[in-house]
Symmetry: C3
Subunit: 143 residues, 3 copies
Protein backbone atom coordinates (compact mmCIF):
# COMPACT_ATOMS: atom_id res chain seq x y z
CA UNK A 1 0.00 0.00 0.00
CA UNK A 2 1.21 3.51 -0.74
CA UNK A 3 1.77 5.55 2.43
CA UNK A 4 0.60 9.10 3.05
CA UNK A 5 4.00 10.59 2.22
CA UNK A 6 4.04 8.91 -1.19
CA UNK A 7 0.49 9.94 -2.03
CA UNK A 8 1.25 13.51 -0.97
CA UNK A 9 4.45 13.59 -3.03
CA UNK A 10 2.64 12.25 -6.09
CA UNK A 11 -0.10 14.88 -5.71
CA UNK A 12 2.49 17.66 -5.43
CA UNK A 13 4.39 16.38 -8.49
CA UNK A 14 1.18 16.27 -10.51
CA UNK A 15 0.50 19.86 -9.44
CA UNK A 16 4.03 20.87 -10.46
CA UNK A 17 3.36 19.49 -13.92
CA UNK A 18 0.05 21.35 -14.15
CA UNK A 19 1.79 24.59 -13.12
CA UNK A 20 4.38 24.08 -15.87
CA UNK A 21 1.55 24.05 -18.43
CA UNK A 22 -0.42 26.81 -16.77
CA UNK A 23 2.53 29.21 -16.51
CA UNK A 24 3.52 28.66 -20.12
CA UNK A 25 0.00 29.07 -21.41
CA UNK A 26 -0.57 32.28 -19.39
CA UNK A 27 2.87 33.56 -20.53
CA UNK A 28 4.18 33.84 -16.98
CA UNK A 29 7.88 33.44 -17.75
CA UNK A 30 9.18 33.85 -14.20
CA UNK A 31 6.87 31.26 -12.61
CA UNK A 32 7.46 28.96 -15.58
CA UNK A 33 11.21 29.10 -15.01
CA UNK A 34 10.59 28.66 -11.28
CA UNK A 35 9.29 25.13 -11.79
CA UNK A 36 12.93 24.11 -12.42
CA UNK A 37 15.83 23.58 -10.04
CA UNK A 38 18.77 25.98 -10.18
CA UNK A 39 20.53 23.34 -12.30
CA UNK A 40 17.34 21.81 -13.74
CA UNK A 41 17.46 20.92 -17.43
CA UNK A 42 14.73 21.52 -20.02
CA UNK A 43 15.67 19.52 -23.10
CA UNK A 44 13.63 20.69 -26.10
CA UNK A 45 16.10 19.61 -28.76
CA UNK A 46 13.64 17.16 -30.30
CA UNK A 47 11.30 20.06 -31.17
CA UNK A 48 14.05 22.42 -32.24
CA UNK A 49 14.43 24.67 -29.18
CA UNK A 50 17.71 23.40 -27.73
CA UNK A 51 18.39 22.98 -24.03
CA UNK A 52 18.06 25.37 -21.10
CA UNK A 53 19.52 25.00 -17.62
CA UNK A 54 18.05 26.77 -14.60
CA UNK A 55 15.03 29.04 -14.05
CA UNK A 56 16.35 32.07 -15.95
CA UNK A 57 17.28 30.10 -19.06
CA UNK A 58 13.98 28.21 -18.97
CA UNK A 59 12.08 31.49 -18.61
CA UNK A 60 13.99 32.79 -21.65
CA UNK A 61 12.69 29.88 -23.74
CA UNK A 62 9.17 31.08 -23.00
CA UNK A 63 10.13 34.70 -23.66
CA UNK A 64 11.51 33.82 -27.10
CA UNK A 65 8.75 31.45 -28.28
CA UNK A 66 5.52 32.43 -26.53
CA UNK A 67 5.09 35.93 -28.09
CA UNK A 68 4.49 34.41 -31.56
CA UNK A 69 1.61 32.38 -30.11
CA UNK A 70 -1.72 34.15 -29.84
CA UNK A 71 -3.23 31.17 -28.02
CA UNK A 72 -1.67 28.04 -26.63
CA UNK A 73 -2.68 25.17 -24.37
CA UNK A 74 -0.64 22.25 -23.01
CA UNK A 75 -2.92 19.40 -21.95
CA UNK A 76 -1.20 16.72 -19.88
CA UNK A 77 -2.46 13.17 -19.21
CA UNK A 78 -1.24 9.67 -18.23
CA UNK A 79 1.09 10.83 -15.48
CA UNK A 80 3.14 7.94 -14.12
CA UNK A 81 5.31 8.77 -11.09
CA UNK A 82 7.89 6.66 -9.29
CA UNK A 83 9.40 7.90 -6.01
CA UNK A 84 13.07 6.92 -6.24
CA UNK A 85 14.40 8.34 -2.95
CA UNK A 86 13.39 10.51 0.00
CA UNK A 87 13.66 13.66 -2.14
CA UNK A 88 13.74 12.29 -5.67
CA UNK A 89 11.28 10.93 -8.20
CA UNK A 90 10.96 10.30 -11.89
CA UNK A 91 7.94 10.16 -14.13
CA UNK A 92 6.44 10.59 -17.53
CA UNK A 93 3.26 12.02 -18.97
CA UNK A 94 1.69 12.61 -22.35
CA UNK A 95 1.06 16.08 -23.73
CA UNK A 96 -1.03 17.66 -26.44
CA UNK A 97 0.22 21.19 -27.15
CA UNK A 98 -1.99 23.18 -29.48
CA UNK A 99 -1.32 26.73 -30.60
CA UNK A 100 -2.56 29.49 -32.85
CA UNK A 101 -0.09 32.08 -34.08
CA UNK A 102 -0.75 35.78 -34.58
CA UNK A 103 -0.23 35.24 -38.31
CA UNK A 104 -3.04 32.69 -38.42
CA UNK A 105 -0.76 29.66 -38.31
CA UNK A 106 -1.71 26.71 -36.17
CA UNK A 107 0.06 23.71 -34.78
CA UNK A 108 -0.53 20.61 -32.74
CA UNK A 109 2.25 18.65 -31.08
CA UNK A 110 1.77 15.37 -29.25
CA UNK A 111 4.31 13.45 -27.23
CA UNK A 112 5.73 12.52 -23.85
CA UNK A 113 7.57 14.42 -21.17
CA UNK A 114 10.27 12.32 -19.50
CA UNK A 115 10.91 13.89 -16.11
CA UNK A 116 13.08 13.82 -13.03
CA UNK A 117 11.90 15.65 -9.94
CA UNK A 118 13.65 16.77 -6.74
CA UNK A 119 12.17 17.98 -3.46
CA UNK A 120 13.41 21.39 -2.28
CA UNK A 121 12.50 23.35 0.86
CA UNK A 122 9.97 25.19 -1.37
CA UNK A 123 8.44 22.04 -2.87
CA UNK A 124 9.09 19.73 -5.78
CA UNK A 125 10.92 21.06 -8.86
CA UNK A 126 12.02 19.68 -12.23
CA UNK A 127 15.57 18.33 -12.20
CA UNK A 128 15.09 17.37 -15.83
CA UNK A 129 12.32 17.46 -18.41
CA UNK A 130 12.93 15.95 -21.85
CA UNK A 131 10.38 16.59 -24.60
CA UNK A 132 9.87 13.45 -26.74
CA UNK A 133 7.50 13.86 -29.71
CA UNK A 134 5.45 10.73 -30.39
CA UNK A 135 3.52 11.77 -33.49
CA UNK A 136 4.67 13.91 -36.40
CA UNK A 137 3.69 17.55 -35.74
CA UNK A 138 0.69 18.99 -37.52
CA UNK A 139 1.35 22.59 -38.39
CA UNK A 140 0.11 25.10 -40.94
CA UNK A 141 1.26 28.61 -41.65
CA UNK A 142 4.45 28.59 -39.61
CA UNK A 143 7.13 30.84 -41.05
Amino acid sequence: MKDLQTLSDEAEIRALTCRYSDCYDRADAEDYGGTFLVDGLLDSRAIGFGTAIGPDAVADVLRSVRPQQAHVIHLVTNHLIEITGPDAARGSCYYIARSRLHNGGRGEYVGRYEDEYRRTPDGWRFARRVIVPLLPPEAEGFA
Copy 2:
Protein backbone atom coordinates in the same frame (compact mmCIF):
# COMPACT_ATOMS: atom_id res chain seq x y z
CA MET B 1 2.99 17.32 3.38
CA LYS B 2 -0.66 17.07 2.41
CA ASP B 3 -2.76 15.35 5.08
CA LEU B 4 -5.32 12.62 4.50
CA GLN B 5 -8.25 15.04 4.61
CA THR B 6 -6.73 17.18 1.87
CA LEU B 7 -5.92 14.21 -0.35
CA SER B 8 -9.43 12.85 0.16
CA ASP B 9 -10.99 16.23 -0.65
CA GLU B 10 -8.90 16.58 -3.79
CA ALA B 11 -9.90 13.09 -4.94
CA GLU B 12 -13.59 13.85 -4.38
CA ILE B 13 -13.33 17.16 -6.23
CA ARG B 14 -11.65 15.44 -9.18
CA ALA B 15 -14.48 12.91 -9.19
CA LEU B 16 -17.05 15.74 -9.10
CA THR B 17 -15.47 17.19 -12.20
CA CYS B 18 -15.50 13.81 -13.96
CA ARG B 19 -19.19 13.40 -13.09
CA TYR B 20 -19.94 16.83 -14.60
CA SER B 21 -18.50 15.59 -17.92
CA ASP B 22 -20.00 12.13 -17.67
CA CYS B 23 -23.54 13.35 -16.90
CA TYR B 24 -23.46 15.86 -19.73
CA ASP B 25 -22.10 13.37 -22.23
CA ARG B 26 -24.68 10.71 -21.23
CA ALA B 27 -27.44 13.37 -21.37
CA ASP B 28 -28.37 12.86 -17.71
CA ALA B 29 -29.81 16.34 -17.04
CA GLU B 30 -30.84 15.77 -13.43
CA ASP B 31 -27.49 14.39 -12.24
CA TYR B 32 -25.70 17.06 -14.28
CA GLY B 33 -27.63 19.79 -12.47
CA GLY B 34 -27.03 17.98 -9.20
CA THR B 35 -23.29 18.65 -9.38
CA PHE B 36 -24.14 22.30 -8.47
CA LEU B 37 -25.10 23.89 -5.17
CA VAL B 38 -28.61 25.27 -4.80
CA ASP B 39 -27.11 28.70 -5.55
CA GLY B 40 -24.24 27.39 -7.67
CA LEU B 41 -23.43 29.35 -10.81
CA LEU B 42 -22.60 27.94 -14.25
CA ASP B 43 -21.25 30.81 -16.31
CA SER B 44 -21.24 29.86 -20.01
CA ARG B 45 -21.43 33.41 -21.36
CA ALA B 46 -18.10 33.12 -23.13
CA ILE B 47 -19.47 30.33 -25.33
CA GLY B 48 -22.87 31.95 -25.84
CA PHE B 49 -25.06 30.03 -23.38
CA GLY B 50 -25.56 32.65 -20.65
CA THR B 51 -25.57 31.87 -16.95
CA ALA B 52 -27.55 29.39 -14.88
CA ILE B 53 -28.01 29.32 -11.11
CA GLY B 54 -28.89 26.13 -9.24
CA PRO B 55 -29.43 22.50 -10.27
CA ASP B 56 -32.68 23.03 -12.17
CA ALA B 57 -31.37 25.89 -14.28
CA VAL B 58 -28.11 24.02 -14.95
CA ALA B 59 -30.09 20.93 -15.98
CA ASP B 60 -32.09 23.13 -18.35
CA VAL B 61 -28.87 24.18 -20.11
CA LEU B 62 -28.24 20.52 -20.92
CA ARG B 63 -31.88 20.01 -21.94
CA SER B 64 -31.71 22.89 -24.41
CA VAL B 65 -28.27 22.18 -25.95
CA ARG B 66 -27.63 18.44 -25.69
CA PRO B 67 -30.47 17.21 -28.00
CA GLN B 68 -28.78 18.80 -31.05
CA GLN B 69 -25.65 16.77 -30.31
CA ALA B 70 -25.62 13.21 -31.60
CA HIS B 71 -22.30 12.53 -29.84
CA VAL B 72 -20.32 14.59 -27.38
CA ILE B 73 -17.35 14.10 -25.05
CA HIS B 74 -15.81 16.45 -22.49
CA LEU B 75 -12.24 15.43 -21.72
CA VAL B 76 -10.73 17.14 -18.67
CA THR B 77 -7.03 17.39 -17.76
CA ASN B 78 -4.56 19.49 -15.71
CA HIS B 79 -6.75 19.75 -12.63
CA LEU B 80 -5.23 22.12 -10.06
CA ILE B 81 -7.06 22.27 -6.71
CA GLU B 82 -6.49 24.54 -3.72
CA ILE B 83 -8.33 23.89 -0.47
CA THR B 84 -9.25 27.35 0.82
CA GLY B 85 -11.18 26.49 3.99
CA PRO B 86 -12.64 23.52 5.87
CA ASP B 87 -15.50 23.25 3.37
CA ALA B 88 -14.28 25.34 0.45
CA ALA B 89 -11.87 24.97 -2.45
CA ARG B 90 -11.11 26.47 -5.80
CA GLY B 91 -9.50 25.01 -8.87
CA SER B 92 -9.08 24.99 -12.59
CA CYS B 93 -8.78 22.40 -15.30
CA TYR B 94 -8.48 22.25 -19.06
CA TYR B 95 -11.19 20.81 -21.27
CA ILE B 96 -11.54 19.52 -24.80
CA ALA B 97 -15.21 19.30 -25.76
CA ARG B 98 -15.86 17.59 -29.07
CA SER B 99 -19.28 17.04 -30.60
CA ARG B 100 -21.07 15.77 -33.67
CA LEU B 101 -24.50 17.13 -34.48
CA HIS B 102 -27.42 15.19 -35.93
CA ASN B 103 -27.12 17.37 -39.05
CA GLY B 104 -23.53 16.24 -39.60
CA GLY B 105 -21.97 19.36 -38.08
CA ARG B 106 -18.98 18.98 -35.83
CA GLY B 107 -17.22 21.16 -33.32
CA GLU B 108 -14.26 21.20 -31.00
CA TYR B 109 -13.90 23.61 -28.11
CA VAL B 110 -10.82 23.92 -25.92
CA GLY B 111 -10.39 25.97 -22.78
CA ARG B 112 -10.32 26.17 -19.02
CA TYR B 113 -12.92 25.73 -16.33
CA GLU B 114 -12.40 28.13 -13.41
CA ASP B 115 -14.14 26.59 -10.42
CA GLU B 116 -15.17 27.13 -6.83
CA TYR B 117 -16.28 24.11 -4.80
CA ARG B 118 -18.15 23.75 -1.50
CA ARG B 119 -18.55 20.70 0.73
CA THR B 120 -22.16 19.75 1.54
CA PRO B 121 -23.48 16.88 3.68
CA ASP B 122 -23.84 14.98 0.37
CA GLY B 123 -20.33 15.69 -0.87
CA TRP B 124 -18.57 18.42 -2.84
CA ARG B 125 -20.55 20.55 -5.28
CA PHE B 126 -19.82 23.40 -7.69
CA ALA B 127 -20.35 26.83 -6.16
CA ARG B 128 -19.22 28.34 -9.44
CA ARG B 129 -17.92 27.11 -12.78
CA VAL B 130 -16.83 29.65 -15.39
CA ILE B 131 -16.09 28.43 -18.93
CA VAL B 132 -13.08 30.25 -20.40
CA PRO B 133 -12.25 29.37 -24.03
CA LEU B 134 -8.51 29.35 -24.71
CA LEU B 135 -8.43 28.60 -28.43
CA PRO B 136 -10.83 29.79 -31.15
CA PRO B 137 -13.54 27.15 -31.64
CA GLU B 138 -13.34 24.82 -34.62
CA ALA B 139 -16.80 24.15 -35.95
CA GLU B 140 -18.34 23.09 -39.23
CA GLY B 141 -21.95 22.80 -40.23
CA PHE B 142 -23.53 24.52 -37.24
CA ALA B 143 -26.77 26.26 -38.13
Copy 3:
Protein backbone atom coordinates in the same frame (compact mmCIF):
# COMPACT_ATOMS: atom_id res chain seq x y z
CA MET C 1 -13.68 10.87 3.94
CA LYS C 2 -11.71 8.41 1.84
CA ASP C 3 -9.23 6.37 3.89
CA LEU C 4 -5.60 5.73 3.06
CA GLN C 5 -6.30 2.28 1.63
CA THR C 6 -8.86 3.69 -0.81
CA LEU C 7 -6.61 6.53 -1.94
CA SER C 8 -3.75 4.08 -2.42
CA ASP C 9 -5.92 1.68 -4.40
CA GLU C 10 -7.20 4.49 -6.63
CA ALA C 11 -3.64 5.66 -7.30
CA GLU C 12 -2.55 2.13 -8.21
CA ILE C 13 -5.53 1.65 -10.50
CA ARG C 14 -4.80 4.95 -12.26
CA ALA C 15 -1.21 3.77 -12.73
CA LEU C 16 -2.44 0.43 -14.12
CA THR C 17 -4.43 2.34 -16.71
CA CYS C 18 -1.43 4.49 -17.63
CA ARG C 19 0.70 1.35 -18.02
CA TYR C 20 -1.92 -0.14 -20.37
CA SER C 21 -1.46 2.90 -22.66
CA ASP C 22 2.27 3.08 -22.23
CA CYS C 23 2.88 -0.61 -23.00
CA TYR C 24 0.71 -0.47 -26.09
CA ASP C 25 2.28 2.70 -27.40
CA ARG C 26 5.83 1.37 -26.82
CA ALA C 27 4.83 -1.94 -28.45
CA ASP C 28 5.65 -3.97 -25.33
CA ALA C 29 3.29 -6.87 -25.94
CA GLU C 30 4.21 -8.92 -22.88
CA ASP C 31 3.80 -6.11 -20.35
CA TYR C 32 0.63 -5.01 -22.13
CA GLY C 33 -0.86 -8.47 -21.73
CA GLY C 34 0.38 -8.53 -18.15
CA THR C 35 -2.01 -5.74 -17.15
CA PHE C 36 -4.80 -8.37 -17.37
CA LEU C 37 -5.80 -11.18 -15.02
CA VAL C 38 -5.33 -14.76 -16.17
CA ASP C 39 -9.03 -14.73 -17.05
CA GLY C 40 -9.24 -10.98 -17.72
CA LEU C 41 -11.29 -9.92 -20.73
CA LEU C 42 -10.40 -7.25 -23.30
CA ASP C 43 -13.52 -6.56 -25.31
CA SER C 44 -12.64 -4.65 -28.50
CA ARG C 45 -15.63 -5.79 -30.52
CA ALA C 46 -16.95 -2.26 -30.92
CA ILE C 47 -13.80 -1.28 -32.84
CA GLY C 48 -13.58 -4.50 -34.81
CA PHE C 49 -10.89 -6.44 -32.93
CA GLY C 50 -12.98 -9.07 -31.15
CA THR C 51 -12.36 -10.25 -27.62
CA ALA C 52 -9.27 -11.60 -25.90
CA ILE C 53 -9.05 -13.46 -22.59
CA GLY C 54 -5.87 -13.55 -20.52
CA PRO C 55 -2.40 -12.00 -20.88
CA ASP C 56 -1.27 -14.08 -23.87
CA ALA C 57 -4.38 -13.39 -25.94
CA VAL C 58 -4.28 -9.69 -25.04
CA ALA C 59 -0.61 -9.54 -26.02
CA ASP C 60 -1.54 -11.13 -29.33
CA VAL C 61 -3.98 -8.29 -30.05
CA LEU C 62 -1.08 -5.89 -29.80
CA ARG C 63 1.15 -8.16 -31.89
CA SER C 64 -1.42 -8.26 -34.70
CA VAL C 65 -2.41 -4.57 -34.76
CA ARG C 66 0.54 -2.54 -33.53
CA PRO C 67 3.02 -3.35 -36.35
CA GLN C 68 0.87 -1.44 -38.88
CA GLN C 69 1.13 1.66 -36.70
CA ALA C 70 4.26 3.75 -37.13
CA HIS C 71 3.23 5.99 -34.23
CA VAL C 72 0.44 5.69 -31.72
CA ILE C 73 -0.60 7.36 -28.47
CA HIS C 74 -3.45 6.55 -26.08
CA LEU C 75 -4.28 9.56 -23.92
CA VAL C 76 -6.55 8.80 -20.97
CA THR C 77 -8.57 11.29 -18.90
CA ASN C 78 -11.62 11.54 -16.60
CA HIS C 79 -10.86 8.41 -14.61
CA LEU C 80 -13.71 7.59 -12.22
CA ILE C 81 -13.02 4.68 -9.83
CA GLU C 82 -15.33 2.96 -7.37
CA ILE C 83 -13.93 0.43 -4.91
CA THR C 84 -16.57 -2.32 -4.78
CA GLY C 85 -14.92 -4.81 -2.37
CA PRO C 86 -11.66 -5.46 -0.53
CA ASP C 87 -10.00 -6.62 -3.75
CA ALA C 88 -12.36 -5.36 -6.44
CA ALA C 89 -13.14 -2.08 -8.16
CA ARG C 90 -14.78 -0.77 -11.28
CA GLY C 91 -14.21 2.42 -13.22
CA SER C 92 -14.34 4.26 -16.47
CA CYS C 93 -12.16 6.72 -18.31
CA TYR C 94 -12.10 8.54 -21.61
CA TYR C 95 -9.50 7.88 -24.27
CA ILE C 96 -8.14 9.59 -27.35
CA ALA C 97 -6.17 7.12 -29.45
CA ARG C 98 -4.30 8.68 -32.34
CA SER C 99 -2.15 6.79 -34.81
CA ARG C 100 -0.13 7.13 -37.98
CA LEU C 101 0.33 4.10 -40.18
CA HIS C 102 3.44 3.17 -42.12
CA ASN C 103 1.46 3.71 -45.33
CA GLY C 104 0.72 7.33 -44.35
CA GLY C 105 -2.77 6.62 -43.07
CA ARG C 106 -3.93 8.28 -39.90
CA GLY C 107 -6.70 7.74 -37.44
CA GLU C 108 -8.21 9.19 -34.31
CA TYR C 109 -10.54 7.24 -32.05
CA VAL C 110 -12.32 8.72 -29.05
CA GLY C 111 -14.38 6.89 -26.45
CA ARG C 112 -14.65 5.37 -23.02
CA TYR C 113 -13.07 2.37 -21.38
CA GLU C 114 -15.47 0.56 -19.03
CA ASP C 115 -13.35 -1.38 -16.58
CA GLU C 116 -13.38 -3.91 -13.77
CA TYR C 117 -10.25 -4.31 -11.66
CA ARG C 118 -9.09 -7.00 -9.23
CA ARG C 119 -6.26 -6.91 -6.69
CA THR C 120 -3.70 -9.71 -7.01
CA PRO C 121 -0.59 -10.42 -4.92
CA ASP C 122 1.32 -8.55 -7.66
CA GLY C 123 -0.98 -5.52 -7.72
CA TRP C 124 -4.18 -4.48 -9.48
CA ARG C 125 -5.04 -6.01 -12.85
CA PHE C 126 -7.86 -5.69 -15.39
CA ALA C 127 -10.63 -8.22 -14.88
CA ARG C 128 -12.45 -6.64 -17.81
CA ARG C 129 -11.94 -3.70 -20.16
CA VAL C 130 -14.64 -2.86 -22.69
CA ILE C 131 -13.87 -0.32 -25.42
CA VAL C 132 -16.88 1.93 -26.10
CA PRO C 133 -16.44 4.43 -28.95
CA LEU C 134 -18.21 7.74 -28.26
CA LEU C 135 -17.53 9.63 -31.49
CA PRO C 136 -17.37 8.28 -35.03
CA PRO C 137 -13.75 7.44 -35.89
CA GLU C 138 -11.77 9.81 -38.05
CA ALA C 139 -9.49 7.85 -40.31
CA GLU C 140 -7.75 8.38 -43.64
CA GLY C 141 -5.76 6.00 -45.74
CA PHE C 142 -6.59 2.78 -43.92
CA ALA C 143 -6.56 -0.24 -46.18
